[in-house]
Amino acid sequence: MCFKNLPIEFDGQGKAFLKGGIRDPYSTKNVITSVGEVEQMPYETVRELLNRNGYIKDVDFDPVTRVAGALAFHGVANLEDRKFIEARSMATLFRGYEIIMCGRDPRDAIFITSRACGVCGGVHSATAALGIEMAFGIKPPPLGIIVRNLLLSLEFLYDHPLHLFLLAGPDYSELIVKATTPSLWEKAVKTAAPGAAMHGYATMGELMRDMNPLSGNLYLEALHMTRVAREAYVVIGGKYPHPETLVPGGVSTTITLQVFNEVYVRLQQFFDYSKKVVAIWDDITEFFYDANPDYRKVGMRAKNMVDLGIWDDPDTYDATYENCAEWGDKRWATPGAIIGGELVTTSLQNLNLGIEEFIDHSFYEQWSNGNGDLKYPTDPSGSPLSPYHPWNKTTLPRPQGQNWKEKYTWATSPRWDRQVFEAGAYVRVWNTAAAKKIRPNQFLESTGTSLKMRLPKGAMPETDLEWKIPNDWNTFERNRARAYALPYTALVAMNDWLRGLDMLKKGHTEVSTPYEIPKSNRVGVGFWGAGRGFLSHHMELDKGLVTNYQIITPSTINASPQDAWHKPGPYEEAVLNTPILEEFDKAENYKGIDLLRTLRSFDPCMPCTTHIYAGEHKVVREINTCACGVDG
């Protein structure tokens, strides 16, 4: 029984049904049980305190720098008690892909939705392809699945170093640490780095110096490594971040031994690099904890997180919704919902049933009164669906003035079982570690409490790493787990590469499957993931065209505002729990580093596309912000 709040029960065969005896089962007036509840202070109380006390300050970041896209954050800090009493996350731009997609050939989704992001467009292409496959009733040949997995891994090998050293990394550099916590810097220069043998820095001060933006060797090395991954990606994808070769039912490129070798010479560079990256982030995390145990509270929030799993098994994946729980469980990254630190389900179907999207504090109109006629009262397996489920949702933008009590953002509030949850690379690591479902292989092992990884020998010796499910869940653990996601990704890629090579040797070179566009009404969903976690594309097709398209991105989840129960979103919760540990002599010199570290630990990637809204729900212009054109 994985649902505590939704009115869904399961019979003896595990089939979901709507709980009886509830007059309005999906009403948002129904009481819910929240895990790890965090409250915003009432708006009026905050204003009163702001007016009365000089030490209570508005702390606004618009935009939040070193994140992708348009994120603004409003906080109110009590600089005497060193805590935040208000936190509001704002997505300042409207993402109109749901509207752009309506009325189009579903295959366009692969190319159009890719433009939702200039960092990780390929994941949107793949997610769209997966959803189309489900709707069309087709599946790729085994090598097509392997190649798609490889593309995803290569995208993450670009994405994770970028975040760890170019975006979040500078927060832990000499420049920032010295400016925000001088005592910490003094300690750093005297503290030996435990991972010196792996990363080569004798002291934490030396390590932090090389984290300096623009000049630090770790910063520059990460820039180089993003290129290596990008090069490998374009060997198969043709372009990055908007690939040209992803199609429904596989990929449209010829895969040869030469292609595989060109990918491998780049992939193998990440084995040694990963060993170093993990040692660096282990050392940073432990250094901060040791210097001040209160750093464990920075960015803390309940262990509520959901991931849809990624990297399909070519022997199991059949693209059907009916079998999604089975093929989902065989993914290299196990799908799952963790609530209060417990893995409550790994079933993709249950994960889908539990998803709802609320817009009570977002610039949209309500499409459902919660109990009206539903387009899809059940999923394709006959299990109950909420009126707030993406298949029942319609995107109705309604721009208006910002009001903290009412509506203040373009992000919606996705919830699972009505719980506030977060998305991230770390969730897939956590789920996979906890679920113990990873397929037998020579590089990765899931123990139930940890994920063990064996990295092959390179210039550095063969190395065993182990990511352990942490006791604390905070800013530092998010970054540490993302660092471990790098070797995890590289080893998944290695497994897929070896399997693909075997297929090539056997002459199984087909990478795509023929199809026809069905004309009947049907639905599909792509369950996939971005570098920063959970990504779904729900679609409805009719007469061969898209009639509804709904995207839930990880940053929509993490940047979500308060929901129908006035529960803050993950960024907001994490900031409300964050102690202010920065050192400053007067309020004017306060820089907000603890808040910024917290926000960046989620790897925010706001949809970096501007649409000008012209009323009547029409999107009249799109400005893509992408790094497209890097040809292989």
Binding site: A68, R621, C628, V630
Partner: protein, 159 residues
């Protein structure tokens, strides 16, 4: 010498750099001239330059860009003066570049900071007339293409 177009695609005059470059590719140029579309992430462009250090003695960047107080259709042709750069600005440019922003100012800051530019850099900017979606420039701008080609020829001749 390198002639490079910079900008987002399919936005009419905002895509001037790419569109004029495609037009220039149909013209005849001396063998010392390369034409390249550098409308991708500035860090990737930096790495493109770093692959062939010292290959070019002069670069001409062509772009459509909106500047405050400039009349639509205005052409500004000027030499890049290699301004002093603030580290935080460059850092922001890198963060923008790796997360998907494409633009001349961002590109110049990154190339300049990492010393990837030759000493002679010229900029050919057009203030857009029409910035809606479209594969071609606005008719007013298209009609002036011979004038624009001549500007580029003059730059090549001066080199």
């Amino acid at each position: 010498m390198l002639i490079a177009g910079v900008g987002h695609p399919n936005l009419k005059d905002l895509s001037f750099g790419q569109i004029l470059l495609a037009h220039l590719e149909n013209e005849t140029w001396p063998p010392i001239v390369d034409l390249e579309n550098l409308s991708f992430g500035a860090v990737a462009v930096l790495q493109w330059f770093q692959d062939s250090p010292g290959k070019y003695d002069k670069v001409l960047f062509i772009t459509g860009v909106e500047r405050e107080g400039r009349e639509p259709g205005t052409v500004n042709f000027y030499k890049y003066d290699f301004p002093l750069l603030d580290d935080e600005v460059v850092q922001a440019c890198v963060a923008e570049s790796v997360t998907g922003i494409i633009g001349l100012d961002n590109l110049l800051s990154i190339l300049h900071y990492f010393k990837a530019l030759p000493p002679d850099v010229e900029i050919f900017e057009l203030e857009p007339v029409d910035t809606n979606i479209g594969f071609e420039c606005s008719p007013e701008i298209e009609a002036r293409f011979p004038e624009f080609v001549q500007i580029v020829r003059d730059s090549v001749t001066a080199f």
